[in-house]
Assembly symmetry: C3
Homo-oligomer: 669 residues x 3
């Protein structure tokens, strides 16, 4: 989609205030004051749009869209399937999900629908088509917002009803062709689990089968497949009347749905970002996690994404919900932009008076109007986006490095029983991502399906599962000159969680042989020496033999003292590194800085950034360099010469001082 301005605004739920026209009027006045130029409408409006089956009320919505449009505010229009009206759940209980305990949900909450249900699809098509017919060509409407935070129904988002189980079996038949192939792929001879009839297959449930990893993995794939299919169903419905692009809003590391699949049916990627700022005085872990998801969203389509929801002050569903400190709202908004967002949108414009989210931060609260710090913070962000927008919209980050993060690997490595049960793939991924972040090196986040040739340096931590053909593509990548880093517990299983037998699939590339993997307790923590410094390690320690590789560092303790811990292997034109154990952050910071340097991947400002400071670059004719300070303290950064401030146009050089939580945007002078 092509934007004329950076979007600023957010979810707007005027249906809650239809009996308060003075509120609706005040909303528009204050939106303009806050430089809001785009709102999302209709997310939970089904019960108002279709108050009885087959009875439709669109007039109120049209009127609101008109009013907004007249005041320069465009609309992102949501299909209303995020929550179902009571008349529908009462009449068609089969549209509600069935949990893993076999019990069908009762009406209530959100996202409570079965994505397989024929009846749900029928009712969805009707309302979506109506909506598109009535408003899908309104000049104010710029984007379809399909449903809402799909799968986020306080469970894992999957449905275990009979319709879903039947669809799962059909999906398996398509995939495997015969039970013989399926039994082989799932290794069902173990524990006498051989299926002799397709009807014997059931979704994984606690009081039935849930230890057959191949089944578990295929079930998760099916859930993503089916949800994507539902999404396409909705898009197909609105497309009957409207050619507008479509998105759906993603969530923070949402394990249940493989977003690398789901995004494919979307025109633009968007997500809802709710970092836990001020959890502790050290904001870096939170900044890193948030940067990682921003980067992933951008990497999906290698294009700018939309920040679809965020809070201007606090959220309400954590145990303790601190308010954003001064400047944090600006910084966190700019962080999104720095990593590729072309918008800063909020949930929500005005706090509702009742129910679950009434205390979620919004631009307007219950008690005040524009006389609050939050309103002023929002206004400042709106102003800056407006002023800097044209420079930003023509750029995008284009890193030469990437980290592999793959949902199928995530599912498999955490479902595996052993060598540890507490393997945390996201956490491990984040330690590698953080090394890039601390060095101010932009990095893409891709899954195993992406073209590796786009990069010079690729890291694939904890890459337990290898998709069909992946090893071959990595081999090609390294042979052609790429730098590849991988770790312990990689290349263990194929796509159906069957262990590879014999050599490591990348044996030649890595130059090592794996013998054992130890999961030592805390008292058995190990360490390595690298460039004369000692670095602690633990969690998982693989015992490998260098068979071709050069040993860069060895274990210092335990019976595997002296065994390789870090190796390097030259292969073809490129190089492959192997980290045999879980290594500490400080080691990874050093290690990836070296790998970056080898490839000329550095941040353009400064070799060593102060703690808590990072740099992202949106590239274009004129690169924009976002210098972000996540410390609640002043810091000084050496940036060299020939820079100017993109906001003010003033020259900057030498030492630049950042105030607490400041984001400066620099351009070449």
């Amino acid at each position: 989609m092509e934007l004329k301005n950076m979007l600023h605004g957010g979810d707007y739920n005027p249906e809650q205030w239809l009996d308060c026209p003075e509120i609706l009027k005040e909303d528009i006045e204050l939106m303009k004051k806050a430089h809001v130029n785009c709102v999302t409408l209709g997310v939970f409006s089904w019960a108002v749009l279709e108050p009885e089956e087959g009875v439709f009320h669109f007039g109120w919505l049209k009127e609101i869209i008109d009013n907004l449009y007249e005041n320069g505010i465009s609309t992102i229009l949501a299909t209303p399937t995020g929550a179902m009206p009571h008349w529908m759940t009462a009449k068609y209980p089969e549209i509600m999900q069935v949990g893993a305990d076999g019990r069908r949900n009762l009406p209530g909450k959100r996202h409570n629908f079965c994505y397989t249900s024929a009846k749900m699809r029928e009712k969805t098509r009707i309302i979506d088509k109506k909506l598109a017919e009535e408003l899908g060509n309104h000049p104010a409407v710029v984007l379809w917002h399909i449903s809402n935070e799909l799968g986020g129904n306080f469970g894992d988002g999957s449905c275990h009803c009979d319709e879903c189980n039947a669809a799962f079996r059909r999906w398996l038949k398509d995939k495997y062709g015969s039970l013989k192939e399926l039994n082989k792929a799932w290794w069902t001879t173990f524990w006498s689990h051989i299926y002799t009839d397709w009807e014997q297959i059931h979704s994984p449930v606690p009081n039935g089968e849930n230890l057959l990893h191949g089944l578990n993995l295929d079930w998760r794939r099916f859930v993503t497949y089916q949800m994507t299919d539902f999404c396409q169903w909705e898009i197909g419905s609105v497309r009957e009347y409207s050619e507008l692009p479509a998105t759906t809003n993603f969530m923070f590391f949402f394990k249940s749905l493989d977003y690398y699949e789901l995004h494919k049916c979307m025109d633009v990627v968007s997500w809802d970002s709710y970092p836990f700022w001020h959890k502790s005085k050290d904001e870096v872990p939170v900044a890193v996690k948030t940067a990682a998801v921003h980067s992933m969203m951008r990497s999906m389509k290698k294009k700018p994404f939309l920040l679809m929801e965020s809070t201007p002050s606090c959220i309400n569903w954590r145990v303790s919900n601190p308010v954003k400190r001064p400047q944090m709202h600006m910084l966190s908004s700019m962080q999104a932009v720095a990593h590729g967002s072309d918008s800063v949108q909020y949930f929500q414009w005005r706090k509702g008076r009742g129910s679950f989210e009434k205390f979620h931060g919004a631009v307007l609260d219950h008690r005040n109007k524009d006389n609050t710090r939050t309103f002023r913070d929002v206004t400042e962000v709106g102003k800056r986006l407006k002023e800097i927008g044209q420079k930003v919209l023509v750029t995008c980050n284009k890193p030469k490095a990437a980290i592999v993060f793959d949902w199928e690997n995530w599912w498999a490595v955490e479902d595996a029983t052993g060598p540890r049960l507490d393997i945390d793939y996201v956490k491990t991924f984040l330690t590698h991502f953080r090394a890039f972040w601390e060095a101010g090196m932009d990095v893409d986040v891709i899954n195993m399906d992406y073209d590796l040739a786009d990069y010079e340096l690729i890291a694939a931590p904890l890459n337990y599962l290898y998709k069909e053909g992946y090893a071959k593509r990595v081999e090609e990548f390294v042979r052609n000159g790429g730098s590849y880093v991988t770790t312990y517990w990689s290349g263990i299983v194929n796509e159906t969680d069957l262990c590879f037998t014999g050599e490591h699939p990348l044996k030649e590339v890595l130059g090592i042989r794996q013998e054992e993997i130890d999961a030592p307790g805390e008292e058995f923590a190990n360490c390595i020496v690298y460039h004369n410094n000692s670095y602690s390690m633990g969690g998982l320690c693989e015992i490998v033999h260098a068979e071709g590789a050069k040993v860069l560092s060895v274990y210092e303790k335990e019976y595997y003292k002296g065994y390789p811990a870090v190796t390097r292997n030259d292969f073809g034109q490129g190089t492959a590194y192997y980290l045999a154990a879980e290594t500490s952050q400080d080691f990874l910071n050093l290690f990836y800085r070296e790998r970056g340097k080898e490839r000329g991947i550095v941040n353009p400002l400064s070799e060593m950034l102060p703690y808590g400071v990072t740099v992202s670059v949106r590239k274009g004719e004129q690169d924009l360099v976002f210098l972000q300070n996540f410390n609640d303290d002043k810091v000084t950064v050496e940036i060299g010469n020939q820079w100017k401030d993109a906001d003010t146009g003033e020259g900057v050089e030498g030492k630049i001082e950042l105030v607490p939580f400041e984001c400066r945007i620099l351009m070449k002078a």
Copy 2:
């Protein structure tokens, strides 16, 4: 009810020993030795009273009541609905509760009945009437004990069966008249939750709706309403033959039932007190909690209450169950009396040989007779009650201060999502109560419905929900000269959990404007300075603006440094104080001592009591001053002149020494 003596005795379950006449004989001998003058009979006797449907055996019970009466021991007679006989649950499964998971309970345990069930009511009426007819006019019987610890069935006491859901809908129709009003009150437009048919409404359950706070709140009100209705049904049943007063035994901060409602159908309030003495060496937290409930029980009817159950030695259901240390039994018994109890009753007289409570402390154990410390402790309490009883019975505590503790607020503030999820209303209430306790100032515990004009000083901590008309009554109270203290997170929502929009309902009275509320993590803890001392604070910190109020103290840290933390506003003839943040115990102790002094509320003995020592006063022609030492150490208290010991009649003055765990009762000389 009018008592001739302080009651001393407890639950007696002779039906367990009907085949051991020597035990029954021994019981009476030992009761007399222990100065027992009143027992509770029949609590779990249904299966013995009606061994088959329609077959009644009352002879054994009458004989026991007769024997006791001949020996000077009166009877509190229980209706047997605390547990249901197996023949009944087998024949009428619909009388058993249905859990929030939709599953009907199987027979077993206690309190397992549906209070709506027509069949349960039918069977209850039959047995209650029979009981009343047979024994309700026996000269030994002094009180009806309706059922037992209502709602205490190891769950939350509520039933989700179809009969209950139907009754709930009727109750809602009565309350709201129309779905339009209900939808408005519950703000159902949010998340498309608009009800279009009464039948769509279901009790809150985990796999259905439970995030609609208005629904949750009304469901809790309904549960109390329905349980009260059941209770009245039982009272009505026994009243067909007997005019005796009735009670039911309440429990320790039992969230499921609003006792301020339930007590209304009772003639006298009673409760079962099981404090966790000797949990740690510092007994004060436990003493405070217990004192708070005693005070609440007294405040309900502003009359003496009955301590219906307590243990003479240990209980059996905590992880570790210490035995009462020497003197603790006397002290804890006297503590009840000090706060308004006219009885000390035990569960139970004799340990049963089997099942769940066989190791619960009782006057008699399995292995010994009167040759135990416990028996001697009980005997001493009995003796003292007998000797001091006539002086006590004519008195009652009559404080000029009150703290608001309201079940509806409790439900609402802990159900709200934000600003913290771990808000603990009871804990917060207890920090305020403790400030009074440490100063030895008696205080009533009332809900929002009570007449405020009875008091000079009222504290309303964490008063999130305002009942209809409450703000107006507070305004009146302050205008007429009262002192009112309230805190952060007060006056937020109305009775259906809808946020008030615009100003605080007590804006004029408090003189402040609320802007934000911060829920800082531990690293962001704040503090205030008050009278030159620093006091820590945290948890919740409101950012308010003084608009009329005088600022007594400000925050010392964070971005709201310098903002008001403690304010005072003169309004009409009175004064209103506002505590903008969760404050520490030491601050509250100082703060309320000041507020007390302003109003002439002090304890009659000593300005500063030693730690762990408190004072309660039962007022009458001759005030009785209970001086209680909760330290396992000697302490010395300065009491001034003109006192005498109420037990011995001897004069006491100047310094008085209390031995460990001692309670002295003083009168003006």
Copy 3:
């Protein structure tokens, strides 16, 4: 069963590799290299043996057994009921268990069958008979392995279906004859729980009755009874064609099944041992626990047992799974032998490629062949067993001391509500067992049914429940000269959990009277002085009066300071000791060393062993003394003269040095 060699081998699952003949061939070559002489076949083979109902494939299995036999490897043949084929669960859902929540399981996992189900028994009989007919007289087959780890279905192994409930009622009728007797035994008058019809009785479930301890206890007995009956059913089935001995593999302190009952239908006891080696640097707690179970297995039949499963490297289902350190595999294998095992078997020979146990340690892994440390460790064990085997097979441990560990007591004491809810019977038992282990004194582990006259010293810690006649047999034992040690919270209830009234059942023997039992919190921890040293105590402290007994030590603190904590009573020719409180390990070590010395029970090597070192003796014409070092450090032990090394035949005397994790086997020179 008579063995010609120590068994070495383990579970072998070739049905997973039938399409890889080269693997099957390699297996035999490598088995021979690793000195494997016995494998277990068929554990989870039902789906391959009977791929469709009534269609049987035995050829593949016979061929494998033949091949193994030709290569000198014998077979333990398993009945395949450990897991059920899908065709069977699909056709006969009634064979699957019903959980305590009343829901029938779906197919999947293991051990998921109802042991009462008539259909399950029918299908079991068919396959077991077929198996016995086909292979039960094959010369290679040496033992029947009935099912697998009975009850180990990730729950507590019990089934709550209607068939089971009906069988439970029949079992109760047999036991009690009348409801009157049952009501009395279960004390059902309490809480009005009187049963008036057998049909009212239901297994204990969370949403029904589960606080009636008599019911709970009888239900557990019934589960063991019914599982034993199922086991006998299987044995009866194979015995129609085969006279081979039978076993089933037991597990680590498996609470759900009383192994002292279940073993009775077996010819030889076997178990699966998975200690958590390298959990911490101090391996002693793990070594002690493992030694205790080894000892229990041996004590059941007072004969050698079989170690049926163990891992040669790591397991996979703990949170972290360390690899066995060098020498640990030899030491842990020899530990089993030292306590009476005549085998060292593994789960499993070769890691499968898929599903739950693919990362469980095996002799062969996915990536390597014999070029691993694990393979070499296994080979060394095989070699040593072969060389030392003939000397070992003619011996068995024959201790003069025993500790009582009784499943019925376990169930009862942990189900009781009070005086603590966290009573851990196994943990308490292990502190007593450890005192023997640290002194290097072999000890049997028996339940209350064994003949006490076989021993000179018997310890019965936390012996809450007394079986019928037990007190009398203890009295006899002491009167005839035995030493008996028991503790607080002993002799409290009879077999149906009814408290004994009046005196302690062993009053005369112990010479004490119990008054109270305190469960003090941590701040109230107590201590005793014994032989001038102070020893801490806590958890449970009984207040007793010495009435005949001599007081050896008293409490030093709390209101029971000066009351007896340790007593000794001479009775008849013997002596009874009473420990009134939970005592620390160091005290027990001293105390039992004294008791041993009094009876001439010492280890033959050294009075004081270094920490982490123990001694076990297999007695025979030539005693074998196993000296085991569980330290990852060298230690020196003074052993005196006249010893020789059983492995090498070389003389050893004076100081002997053990390397880390070494086990030396000594014989008299």
